[in-house]
Subunit: 202 residues, 2 copies
Amino acid sequence: MKLYDLPPSPNARRVRIFIAEKGLEIPTIAVDMTKGENKRADYLAKNSLGKMPVLELDDGTCITESAAICRYLEEMHPEPPLLGRDPVERAQVEMWNRRMELEILLPLINVFSHTHEMWKGVLTQIPEWGEVCRENALTRLEWLDGEIAGREYIVNGTHTVADITLQCALVLGKAVGVRVPENLANVNAWFDRVAARPTARA
Amino acid sequence: MKLYDLPPSPNARRVRIFIAEKGLEIPTIAVDMTKGENKRADYLAKNSLGKMPVLELDDGTCITESAAICRYLEEMHPEPPLLGRDPVERAQVEMWNRRMELEILLPLINVFSHTHEMWKGVLTQIPEWGEVCRENALTRLEWLDGEIAGREYIVNGTHTVADITLQCALVLGKAVGVRVPENLANVNAWFDRVAARPTARA
């Protein structure tokens, strides 16, 4: 098994932290987008969309999409459970993971894609859309601060993939100038908690 | 158990078709956004984001996010399997479901949100972004046409939630003027196949 990785990508980081939380060691191969390695035929045969990460199994089967990779690893290595411990909790973890992804990570990726100079001339940038996404992410962080009041971690107080997704979203947020406002005490305390975990630098 | 529904929503439709494919009957309650019913305190207590669908369990637990609702229903009612039959296939279904969602459904939702007059004055519309998303969706449909060549359904030829997600995406596509180009024979044949299933009008 090996992981095709894009070190700075929030989606690849989600998988790396997930692997580290499971205590697994999976060899990683960094794919250099700046050299167009992800557009070469051998890589496109693994993921025809040319995206990272990809988990390649020993029989050559390739799994793309970070959430799908995490699901496979959870089934193969159930401990510690990061996707929930029973049907209701698994649904709640999926619900919160998707909220963290669609409501916070995705807008922050849009801020990056639509406003960062790295993508000038590469993507069609619409800075106005980037700014709307920045505001949307901040609005959702404020909503989240109320939601997680009194909880150590997002779902039932237990560390799950939903925490990993938000953690990676906020790391990206810092890089694009969207910081958690100081008055959001619950989100800030939560972030200090995940940042102190031994897997935070995975 | 009951489902809070938004009849025209592609996400709510995903869940309704999933329920119909399972042969389940779950009472639905239509939430009228035009009357602001989704912003009332009793509904916000079920989903603080004010979105549909929501599955309310008999003990009052509320599950939001269509994929999370489908996962819960799959665990409670495993037959027919719509999320995969073994760990590798479950990862492949998740991968393809997310590709259909993030690469095709989400851009089409953006076309709707950013260009349709229904949202004028309600959302910040950036028509230019809507047009980029329209092109992105069409590019991905062309990619998909090659990917599904020779397959009856998207994942290993078996009907799964990935088919349901794409089906609902293309129903929305028609409503916003993004039709599958005629030369994409595989996608068109696939759509005829899902549209002929007894659950298509769920």
